[in-house]
Subunit: 387 residues, 2 copies
C-alpha cells in the first residue's frame, strides 16, 4: 500500500498516516509549498529541506509554457532540473488554463487556449496533461479536470462533472498504457531513469482523481461516485476555496468525504488559511497546498504564533513587517520559531530589507512563513497522535 493510516483522531475524522512516493515517505496530513515555475521565489531547495518541507507542488501549466516539459525531461526531469530530491506533486494545468489563459474553446477533446507568453495556440487534453507530468517526472500526478468558477449554474456545473469524469477515465487509460520504456525510446538522450520506469522495477507515479460539482450536493455525490469507481491512488476535491462562503465549503466536505475511500489520501486543492487547514483536517483531509504563505511573505505579511502549542481559537496573528512600529524592534519575527530567519535576524533588519526592496527580505520572509505552515502541520499531526 502506498498510503497507510497510522492513527485516527478520537473526536473528529482527522487521521495521521504515511504516503510512500518514489522520492520518499511523507507524513500526513501535510502542506505543499508551491514552486510554480520550478522554484520557490528566492528560496533554494536546500533551504526547503532545512524547513522540513516534505514535498513541493509544481505547476504543469507554467512549466509546459516555459521552459517546456520536453526540455525538462531532456535535462533529467524536474527533480534534477531544480535540484530537489524530495517528492513533487504536479497539478494537471487545468486550474491555470481556466483562470489565467484566454480560452478559445472547451471541447470534450480538451481545452484550446492562447499561451500567456507569446499568444500562440495551445491545446491541453487529459492525455497531454499526463504526458507533460510524466516528462516532468512527477511523483503524484493529477488528472485534468473541467474547472468552473463560483458561482456557477447547475447546468454548467453538471457539464463540468461529466467532462471531468470522462477526462479522468482517459487520463487513467493514458497513464496505464504509457510505460516509461516507450518514453525512454522517444527520448534516447534521457540518461536519468524516470521513477515510473517499469523496467527499472520502480513504482509508477501516483495518479489522483478530482471530484468537481461546485456547491451542488447531487453533483458532488455523483462526481465522487464516478471518480471513485475509476480507482485512483488518491482523491482531490477541486472547485472549493474559490470564493464560496466558508459554511458552504464545510457543508460540501461534510457530505462528500464519507463518499471517498478511507484508505486513500484526500487532497483539498488550494486551501488555505491556517484555521481552515485545521478545520479541513478534522473533516478528514490529508493534503494541502496554498499560495498564502509565500505570497503573503512577499508582501511582508508574516505569521506569528500567539499560543505556544494550541491550534484552537485565534492561534496566530499577521505581523506587517513594513509598519513603522518595527523600525527599532530587536526581536525576531516570532520568538517561538526555529526558522533560519528568526534565528538570525531582527524585525528591524527585516523591515529595513523590505523598505530598501532587497530581495533578501522576501526570501527571509518566505522562509519564515513556510516554516509556520510546516510547523502548523507538525502540530496538527502531534495533536492527532496524542488524542
Amino acid at each position: 500500500m502506498q498510503f497507510k493510516i497510522l492513527k485516527k483522531d478520537r473526536q473528529s475524522k482527522a487521521r495521521i498516516g504515511l504516503l510512500k512516493t518514489t522520492h520518499g515517505e511523507i507524513r500526513t496530513p501535510f502542506f505543499m509549498p508551491i514552486a510554480t515555475k520550478g522554484s520557490i521565489k528566492g528560496v533554494a531547495p536546500g533551504e526547503l529541506k532545512d524547513l522540513e518541507a516534505q514535498i513541493i507542488l509544481a505547476n504543469t501549466y507554467h512549466l509546459y509554457l516555459r521552459p517546456g516539459h520536453k526540455l525538462i525531461e531532456k535535462l533529467g526531469g524536474l527533480h534534477k532540473f531544480m535540484n530537489w530530491s524530495g517528492p513533487v506533486l504536479t497539478d494537471s494545468g487545468g486550474f491555470q488554463v481556466f483562470s489565467l489563459a484566454k480560452i478559445n474553446k472547451v471541447l470534450d477533446q480538451g481545452v484550446d487556449f492562447q499561451c500567456d507568453i507569446d499568444g500562440g495556440h495551445c491545446f491541453l487534453s487529459p492525455e497531454k496533461s499526463i504526458e507533460i507530468q510524466m516528462s516532468l517526472g512527477s511523483d503524484i500526478m493529477m488528472v485534468l479536470d473541467d474547472v468552473v468558477p463560483y458561482p456557477c449554474d447547475h447546468r454548467r456545473a453538471k457539464e463540468a462533472v461529466e467532462r471531468t469524469t470522462n477526462w479522468a477515465q482517459r487520463s487513467k487509460d493514458y497513464w496505464a498504457h504509457h510505460p516509461a520504456s516507450s518514453l525512454r525510446k522517444e527520448s534516447p538522450h534521457l540518461r536519468w531513469v524516470p521513477p515510473y520506469s517499469h523496467s527499472a522495477g520502480r513504482a509508477r507515479p501516483m495518479l489522483f482523481g478530482i471530484v468537481q460539482g461546485s456547491t451542488y450536493k447531487d453533483l458532488r455525490l455523483k462526481s465522487a461516485k464516478d471518480i471513485v469507481k475509476l480507482n485512483f491512488d488518491g482523491y482531490a476535491i477541486g472547485g472549493l476555496a474559490v470564493g464560496e462562503p466558508k459554511e458552504e465549503m464545510w457543508e460540501v466536505l461534510d457530505y462528500l468525504i464519507p463518499e471517498l475511500p478511507e484508505d486513500r489520501p484526500r487532497y483539498l486543492m488550494g486551501l488555505g488559511k491556517p484555521e481552515d487547514i485545521v478545520e479541513a483536517v478534522k473533516r478528514g483531509i490529508d493534503m494541502f497546498d496554498c499560495v498564502i504563505p509565500t505570497r503573503n511573505a512577499r508582501h511582508g505579511a508574516l505569521f506569528v504564533w500567539t499560543k505556544s502549542n494550541a491550534i484552537r481559537g485565534k492561534f496566530y496573528h499577521i505581523l506587517k513587517i513594513k509598519n513603522q512600529e518595527f523600525a527599532e524592534d530587536k526581536e525576531s519575527i516570532d520568538k517561538t520559531c526555529d526558522c533560519y530567519t528568526c534565528q538570525n535576524f531582527s524585525r528591524a533588519y527585516l523591515r529595513h530589507l523590505f523598505m530598501t526592496e532587497d530581495p533578501l527580505g522576501q526570501r527571509l520572509a518566505t522562509i519564515h512563513n513556510l516554516r509556520f505552515y510546516l510547523r502548523l502541520m507538525e502540530k496538527i499531526r502531534k495533536e492527532i497522535e496524542k488524542s
Copy 2:
C-alpha cells in the same frame, strides 16, 4: 602593527600581507563585496562566509539616510544588525553625496545636499561622517573627501585637494577625541560594546586617508605628501576609475604609489575589472571594492575562468546566461568553480530562473560572481607567495 607584509613579489611591487581588524585578520590583497544598504542583494551573510569573503564594504551615505546610523547603533551596530561577524569597511559617504545627491553647496565646513529619499536638507561634514561611521561600528573608516568628476580643470582639482587635506585633518581630530565612552554615555541603551571602546581595552577602528588630485601629477604628489603627513592607518586613492583613460590611471599609480608608506595598506577605490585588479596589485595596491561582480550578476552576466590557474592574458570570459544557447545546457556555469551555484545548478536552470524573473536567479548569479572575484584574489595571493 595592524598591517604586516608577509612577502613581496620579485617582479613587481605586489605584496601579500595581513591586516588586523577588530573583527578578524584579512589576507591582502583582498576584494570587498559591496553591501550598499547593509545587505548584498538577495544574499545572506552566512553565504558570504561560505564564499570566503573576508570583509565587506557598506555605504555610509545610504545607511545614514535609511535606516539611519542612530538606529543601527541602537540595535548594536551594523555587524549585529545584518548578522555579519567579519570586518566591515565603511566609506565616508563623500562619493555618493557627490554622485547621487542634489548638492546645494560645497563649503569648507562640509556638503549641504538634498536627501534622495524625502528631499529634505542634509549636511555632511568630516566630523559627521566619522560620527556616522562610529555609530555603524565600522572596522575601517574612511575620511570624507572632496570628490571631483573626470575630466576636471586644474583649479577645481586643486581646491578639492586642499579641502580633502583639511577635511582629513579634521576627521582625524574628531576620530582621536571621540572616545567610545562618550558615545556610550549618549546611548545608554547600547548594550553592545563598540569595538573601538577604550575602556573595553579593544582597538579603535582604523582610519584611512584619501589621496585626491584627479590626473594632475603635481596635485597628486602634493595630496599624497599632505595626507601621509597626517599619519593614517592606511591610504586610499580616490578619483580614479571614474572614466579616465586606463593609461592615465596606471600613470598616476606609477608615480603616486612610491609616495605612500610601504608599511600601510593601499586601497584603490572602486576598481574594477579582473584584469585591472591584477594590474593594480602589481603596482602595489592591497585593497579593492567594486560593484561589477554583483551588478553584472543581477543582469545575468557571469564570469567564467578560461585558464585553469594563470591570471595573465585573457583569463576569463563573460557568459550571458539569458542567451538562448544555454537553454538546454546541463553544465554548471563554470566547471572549475567551487561555489554553491556551480555545485548545484545547471546553466539551463539558471537561465530559466532569469527568464521567469525569479530572484533566486540573481542570488545564485551573485554568489557565483563574488566567488569568482574572491578566487581571483586567492590566485593573486598564491602567485605572489610562490614568486
